[in-house]
Amino acid sequence: MLKPANDNPPPAARTDGRAVLELTVANHPGVMSHVCGLFSRRAFNVEAILCMPVGDGRQSHIWLLVHADTPLEQMVAQLLKLQDVFSVRRHEAAHDVFVRLEEYFRE
C-alpha cells in the first residue's frame, strides 16, 4: 500500500496525473483497517498514505495519493460510506504534503 520512492528516479512532478485526498476520520485503532481495506477490496490504486492525529487526538487526518486511473468519484463515495470517515476533501492539483515527504524516503 505504502510505496516509498523506488530505485528508479522518482517522477519529477510527483502528483502529475494523480490526486490527493484528505480525509478526516475518527481516531481509533480500526480506522486504518477500514480505509485500507476499502482500497484492496475495490481495487483502488493508492500510491501513498499518511495518517496523523489532529486537534485533541479524537480525530485524525489521512492523506492519500491516488493514481489517475482510480475512479475518484466512486472512491470518494465509498469512503464517505465508512462510518468513521467524517469528510473527504479533494486536492486535484499537486499538493505539497507528499512532495515534501518524499525527502524522507530517499536513500
Binding site: P29, G30, S33, H34, G37, R41, E73, Q74, A77, Q78, L80, K81, L82, Q83
Partner: protein
C-alpha cells in the same frame, strides 16, 4: 442510578430496541451475556445448531419485518461460523446485528484460546463494526449499531464484546434513546422534474426495480407510476413482489434467467427508470449492452451506487419511495398503445415456457401447484441453485417481502434457517422453503431447531441428487464434462427429517402426489416434503455468463404457455 454489568447493559438495550427474539449459540466468551439473558427472561432465545443458522434466522426475521434482528455467537469458531450469514446480509442489504464474544481485553493479541480477529475479519462484510473497549461504550455503541443497520441502505453491523467488558460494572443515570433509522435524504426536485421530462418524451420506457424498492416498501408507488404512464416493470430477484406477479405491466425477473419477452422488451427500451437497483451482472448481462438504446435514470439511497456501473443521464440520491412519490404528480396519464402492444406481442411470441406446470412431478408443476394450494399470505424462502431460479420464474410473488432468497452472495444453506426466522417473526403464516438436496445439506442441522421451536415451516426438497446448477453449467458450457456435481450416495431425506423430529412425506412414492402435497402444506408445524426431480432438467432461458441479455439460450417456444 443504574449499576450494571456490560452484559446486563447489552440485554437492557436490546429490550429497549424492541428485540423479543434472537438466535445464537453460547460459548466461553459470551457466557456472561447468556447469563444476563437468562436473568432477564423476557427475550426468547433460539438455540441453533450452527452459528450460520443463527445468522440466517436473524436474516429471516429482518427480511420479513424490515427491522433489525439479532444473532449471537461466541469468539473464535463461533464468530467465523456466523460470518457467511453476515456477508450475505451485507450483499442483500439486510439489517442484522451480530454480537460476538471476544477474549478478555488483556488477552487480545496473544493468540489466546478461541481468539480470532473478528473485528478485522468482519470489516469488509459489514456495514460497520465495533470492538467494544468498555462497558460504558456499550451505551453508545448498541443504539448506534441499530441506527446504522436500519438507516439509508440497510446492512449488518457486528459488535465484538470482550468477555471482561461483559463483566465490567458501570454506573449510569439514564438509558440512552433507542437507535432509530435516520431520515432519508430530501429529494432533489430539479432531478425529479428532469426525470418527468424524460418520461414525457420517452416512447418505450421501462422501470427496473430491485431490493431498494422493497426495503422502503415502495411497491405502491411503483404500481401507481407504472399504471399512470403505462410503464412495464422488470424486477430483480430481490425486487420480486414490488409489482404483483400477474399485473399486466409486471415483467417478472430480468436477466440471466428472465423470460425471453422480458429481456427482449428491455432491449428495445428508450428510457430505463432504475430504482433501488445496483446493475448487478446477473440482472444486466454484459453491462455495456444492457438496454443499449435507453437513457438511464438511476434512483438510489446509496450515493456510491449512482454511476458505479452505468453512468446515468439523471441520478437521484433518495429512497425509491420518496423519489417515485415526488415524481408521480409530474407525470401525465399516458396509454402508450404502441408500447403496450409491443409488450403483448412479445409476451405472446416469447413467453416463459413452463413445461409440465400441471404435474407436481416436474419442477414448474411442483412450484405452480404449491402456489395454488397457498394464498398470498404465505412466505416463500429458497435456497440457491436451479430450484431458486425456477421459483423466481414461476412462483407468483404478489407481495413485497414475500420472497426470501439469497441474491447477492447466493449462499447455499440460506433457505431453512431463513424460513425459521420468518416463521418466528410471522407465526401466523405458512412458510415454504424450496430447497435443493445440495443446499439443504448445508444447514440441515437446523431441522432440529425447527422441530424444537415447532415453527410452521414446510421444506420442499427438490431432489435431483446433484448440484443441479453446476450440472447444468457443465452440461452447457464445459462440453458436458460432468465432474463433482452428481452425488453417488442417495441420502434418505425423509428418514433424516424424521430423525430430527420433523414429519416427512415423499411425493415420489405417493399415489396422488398433489393430495399428499396439499396435506403436508396444511398440517401445522414443520414438515419435510421430498420431491424427486429429474437431474437433466435445466433452467431456461439462460444468458451465458458474460453474454448480453439478448443472447439467451433455451426456452424458445411456441409451446402453449401455462396460466
Amino acid at each position: 442510578m443504574f449499576n450494571l454489568t456490560g452484559a446486563e447493559i447489552i440485554v437492557g438495550l436490546l429490550e429497549r430496541q424492541g428485540i423479543t427474539t434472537l438466535a445464537g449459540i453460547p460459548g466461553g466468551c459470551n457466557l456472561p451475556l447468556y447469563e444476563a439473558l437468562a436473568r432477564c427472561g423476557r427475550i426468547r432465545h433460539i438455540l441453533t445448531r450452527h452459528e450460520q443458522g443463527a445468522g440466517f434466522i436473524a436474516q429471516g426475521m429482518a427480511r420479513v419485518t424490515g427491522a433489525p434482528a439479532v444473532c449471537l455467537a461466541t469468539s473464535g469458531p463461533g464468530a467465523t461460523n456466523v460470518l457467511t450469514a453476515i456477508a450475505d446480509a451485507k450483499l442483500d442489504s439486510v439489517p442484522v446485528i451480530c454480537i460476538t464474544g471476544q477474549v478478555p481485553r488483556a488477552m487480545i493479541g496473544t493468540d489466546a484460546f478461541q481468539e480470532v480477529d473478528t473485528y478485522g475479519l468482519s470489516i469488509p462484510i459489514t456495514k460497520h463494526n465495533y470492538l467494544v473497549r468498555s462497558a460504558a461504550e456499550l451505551l453508545e455503541v448498541i443504539p448506534r449499531a441499530f441506527a446504522i443497520a436500519a438507516s439509508g441502505r440497510p446492512g449488518p453491523v457486528l459488535i465484538d464484546v470482550p468477555k471482561d467488558v461483559q463483566l465490567q460494572r458501570f454506573e449510569f443515570t439514564e438509558w440512552p434513546a433507542p437507535g432509530q433509522p435516520a431520515a432519508p435524504p430530501a429529494v432533489d426536485e430539479a432531478a425529479i422534474a428532469a426525470i418527468a421530462e424524460r418520461l414525457a418524451a420517452a416512447r418505450r420506457p421501462v422501470l427496473y426495480v430491485g431490493g431498494g424498492v422493497v426495503a422502503c416498501s415502495a411497491g405502491e408507488q411503483v404500481r401507481r407510476l407504472a399504471e399512470r404512464a403505462s410503464i412495464p416493470v422488470a424486477m430483480t430477484l430481490l425486487g420480486l413482489g414490488a409489482l404483483p406477479a400477474g399485473h399486466p405491466l409486471a415483467l417478472g425477473m430480468l436477466g440471466m434467467h428472465g423470460a425471453r419477452c422480458t429481456n427482449l422488451l428491455l432491449e428495445e427500451a428508450d428510457l430505463v427508470i432504475a430504482a433501488g437497483v445496483r446493475f448487478d451482472d446477473r440482472a444486466t448481462g454484459k453491462v455495456r449492452e444492457f438496454c443499449p438504446h435507453a437513457a438511464i435514470v438511476h434512483i438510489d439511497i446509496d450515493a456510491s451506487e449512482l454511476g458505479k456501473i452505468k453512468t446515468p443521464a439523471t441520478a437521484v440520491l433518495a429512497s425509491a419511495g420518496d423519489a417515485l412519490a415526488a415524481l408521480l404528480p409530474h407525470v401525465a396519464a399516458d396509454e402508450r398503445p404502441a408500447w403496450r402492444g409491443r409488450l403483448e406481442s412479445l409476451r405472446r411470441d416469447h413467453p416463459l415456457r413452463m413445461d409440465g406446470c400441471d404435474d407436481v412431478r416436474t419442477p414448474y408443476g411442483l412450484i405452480v401447484q404449491t402456489a395454488a394450494l397457498l394464498d398470498d399470505e404465505a412466505i416463500i424462502a429458497t435456497d440457491v441453485g436451479q430450484h431458486q431460479m425456477w421459483v423466481a420464474q414461476a412462483y407468483p410473488i404478489r407481495r413485497q417481502r414475500q420472497l426470501l432468497t439469497s441474491g447477492g452472495l447466493g449462499t447455499m444453506g440460506f433457505g431453512l434457517p431463513a424460513a425459521i426466522g420468518a416463521a418466528l417473526a410471522a407465526p401466523d403464516r405458512t412458510i415454504v422453503c424450496f430447497s435443493g438436496d445440495g443446499s439443504l445439506l448445508m444447514n440441515i442441522q437446523e431441522l432440529a431447531t425447527a422441530a424444537e421451536e415447532n415453527v410452521n415451516v414446510k421444506v420442499i426438497v427438490m431432489n435431483n441428487n446433484s448440484l443441479g446448477l453446476v450440472h447444468q453449467q457443465q452440461e452447457l458450457f464445459y462440453q458436458g464434462r460432468l465432474f463433482a456435481c452428481d452425488y453417488r450416495l442417495k441420502v434418505d431425506f425423509c428418514a433424516i427429517a424424521e430423525g430430527f423430529g420433523v414429519p416427512a412425506c415423499d411425493l415420489g412414492t405417493a399415489a396422488d402426489p398433489r393430495a399428499r402435497l396439499a396435506e403436508a402444506l396444511a398440517a401445522p408445524g414443520p414438515r419435510l416434503i421430498h420431491a424427486p426431480i429429474d437431474v437433466n432438467e435445466m433452467v431456461f432461458p439462460m444468458v451465458p455468463p458474460g453474454a448480453a441479455n439478448r443472447d439467451m439460450i433455451g426456452g424458445a417456444t411456441h409451446v402453449e404457455a401455462c396460466k
